[in-house]
Symmetry: C4
Subunit: 201 residues, 4 copies
């Protein structure tokens, strides 16, 4: 099966997820709705929106990189991808919950749980792709030891535990993971380049 | 006519349908909005969201499989596809209605009716495609006797009837149909593979 | 310039327009929210949703047919297309307004005005395309005398005038136009077929 | 890396941004909801919707033109594009805020700030693309001295300053910038044409 429609469908879903989050920035109305002070209560919602925008952007970015190294898909991959999209679709909910409650303990914990589930779903999709393409494929070589996945899940878990003491530290830890992933997965890019010009040597 | 834009448009509509359902998970606000107990009333909404996410995922998956075996489309196919999208577009409404009323009798009945209409619309689209490609096409051979379609419509009808006695059993029956369809339509995949490598024999 | 992205963007916008209309079907809540009688006030909203779904479907369908005969686009065409999308984007608003006010006089009038503007925008796009491709292009020949466009604008105008006497008749006239357009623009299809296989003769 | 998915994802996000703005046109309800006078309070919302529709249309248009001259993308370009989409995603919020407060001082100021940030993000994306393709690429030659970018940022800044005296003048200045950009970036089109048919001379 071709990968084209899986990419198009994922692009569509991720585009909607990243955009509907902005709907949580509710327009201030009423007597003081036109004043700059009306934006103040929106500030935590805006901060959590920025973080989630970057997170969803990272997932799209890595999905893009991963799919570049893919040649075809099968039924298991379609469902592994759908599973990832499911957990991504919960990001707007936990983002809004966290933002509207000033980074309180429980919303911050749930945000971390959704991030962990996304990381797991991404890993499952990666495994499904590697299994389909074989241990010697570009993808399998490119990924190698996925320390980034493991370290981010560890930081998420720490953040969830710490949220019971101080949820601000948890939020900072989520930012740290975003920074780690900000740089797209160079491994796949390098592997692809390394494979394509064999005439160069 | 080419099938490209029909696929792109369907992908777009299905991507939006699957994503707007999450908007029904209304963010808890108020004094206790930050507590984990605030999520409790959202539980049935979340459960019905998961089921509908899987159902819409199944339809996208099978649409993807079906279109792989299609070479071109005509006016009748465009409208049969639009008809399927119409019934799919009602899934978010019945999902939210069912979830927000704790799986009460009437919402569960209507959910079943929308599922039956979707199954019928899918079958009509399949017939329109087979009629356009001929009785000897890959698609016609691949589909063969569509026991899955018939059995799921029968289970839906049973679930609707039972909903008057016990709507929980109806909901379990909907899950059963989802499990039956979870595995993508291997028939088309097999038929396509059987055609493509004739050199293998 | 290539037409690919214009098609993709239009597909995206039309897919969203057709899907957000369903959000006007507000889920009934409250004590009697789970009863079938709770759906009764939604009935006119549902009826107007069906009509608009078909209208937007017709526009997508004809857009699809028209673009098949197009080879390239220019700046004027991009803006003519954007203009059409603008008027299409107002369809959800007038649909909801008409449905939630039981087909009252003013909403029915405005619905008709938006339909007229859509018809005009479509004609402008067609002219921009013909001007770019030349009087002897497939498109120009295919369209010929566009009696359908003219007749539907005439019926829309009649419906708007009649809405001051009886808005139900206006609504029926809108259904009549939808029926006229239901069949996709065979002219372009025929013209394309007539051009492509010159070896057949 | 191929540019296809970046285009598709951007198309998706921009299509959603341009369409969700219409959701701010809240359907009038209540006793006088069916009267034409019910549309009167929506008028400033509608006017700001039109302006933002044109602005987002301009960005899509120029994005389209810019990407035509692009051959491949890298990680930096993906993030520069995501950055542009972030600022575009704030347009619906400031549009609604401005429209619902009758073009009051602060909303008009914020609208201008978001427009400036969009202009900057677009310029950053342009620089990232030129850096990737080289100083002698079609794109670099096509853009040349970008007086339009500079002039529009200057007008935005003026509009923000003036909004403290008279926010209506600011709004008119925003319309002026839209008029400047309305014509798509001919430079790229000309450069592309100039390159492709070398046989013509």
């Amino acid at each position: 099966m071709e990968k084209g429609r899986l990419e198009a469908f994922s692009d569509g879903v991720i585009a909607i997820i990243i955009t509907i989050m902005v709907l949580e920035l509710k327009v201030p109305v009423g007597k003081l709705g036109a004043d700059i002070s009306a934006l103040k209560p929106l500030f935590p919602v805006f901060v959590s929106y920025i973080l989630s925008f970057i997170y969803v952007g990272i997932y799209w970015n890595n999905h893009h990189h991963m799919m570049q190294a893919v040649e075809s898909v099968n039924g298991a991959i379609l469902w592994a991808n759908m599973h990832l999209l499911f957990w991504l679709s919960l990001v707007p909910f936990v983002t809004a919950w966290m933002g509207e409650n000033d980074f309180a303990r429980w919303p911050v914990t749930c945000y971390g749980i959704v991030l962990i589930m996304n990381a797991c779903a991404y890993t499952i999709l990666l495994f499904a792709l590697i299994r389909h393409h074989g241990r010697n494929s570009v993808l399998a070589k490119a990924v190698g030891s996925d320390w980034k996945d493991k370290i981010s899940i560890a930081i998420y878990a720490t953040a969830i535990a710490i949220s019971w003491l101080n949820s601000t530290i948890s939020f900072i830890l989520y930012i740290v993971v975003a920074c780690i992933w900000f740089i797209p997965d160079k491994r796949i890019e390098r592997q692809l380049v390394g494979e394509e010009p064999p005439c160069e040597k």
